[in-house]
């Protein structure tokens, strides 16, 4: 079954493209991306960023006296 990929040139057969994948993993994120190349030309790049944590502030109170 033909698998199509949305590209800068419209839908293309994934099997006729070169695929590259990459990953970033650190304390803040786990990110994966997939790239498709038509020859040397990048025609598709999608990114999935999984945020591991957000921002947190610390509530503080003054000591009386």
């Amino acid at each position: 079954m033909t698998r199509f990929v949305n590209t800068t040139k419209g839908l293309m057969d994934a099997d006729k493209l070169r695929c590259a994948r990459g990953t970033i993993d650190n304390e803040n994120e786990h990110t994966t991306w997939v790239e498709y190349y038509d020859g040397d030309e990048l025609v598709h790049r999608s990114v999935d960023i999984v945020l591991k944590k957000g921002t947190e502030i610390q509530a503080t109170e003054a000591v009386l006296g």
Partner: protein, 141 residues
């Protein structure tokens, strides 16, 4: 049981609820690596924002079906769905997402950075962290 000094959990929850009211329209905009989004950002601005095919200035609306809540003694809030930019081409490197409240005159809420990325005729998905103390997208501990 002894008395103790505390910033009460209820006050933390009230504060976070005021920052991201449940009925407001919360949006997420993306910024180039050359922008200066951070703690001093007061409101959404198109300056330094990404641009490209199928990306609308101002970004996308965030799904937040859940109000701020308490996780232990920490008030937490996290969007209830991933933030997705579909079929976009964002050719210039970006590394920051600004969360802002478009109902409250685009007031800035928080900024979140990640490794620099580009997107080509593809989809950018930002999957949210676990909505709990220590991991929620926003927390007041």
């Amino acid at each position: 049981m002894a008395n103790s000094q505390a910033f009460t959990n209820q006050a933390k929850l009230d504060a976070l609820t005021a920052i991201v009211p449940n009925g407001d329209t919360i949006k997420a905009a993306l910024y180039l690596t050359t922008a200066s989004i951070g703690a001093s950002t007061t409101a959404y601005s198109a300056t330094g924002e990404v641009s490209g095919t199928n990306y609308s200035a101002g970004g996308v609306t965030v799904t937040h079906a859940n109000a701020a809540s308490l996780s232990g003694s920490t008030a937490v809030w996290t969007p209830s769905a991933s933030i997705v930019y579909t079929a976009v081409t964002l050719p210039t490197a970006f590394d920051c997402m600004l969360i802002y409240d478009s109902t409250r005159t685009n007031a800035a809420v928080s900024s979140h950075t990640f490794g620099a990325q580009t997107v080509t005729a593809g989809t950018l998905t930002l999957t949210m962290p676990v909505n709990a103390a220590g991991t929620a997208l926003l927390g007041i501990a």
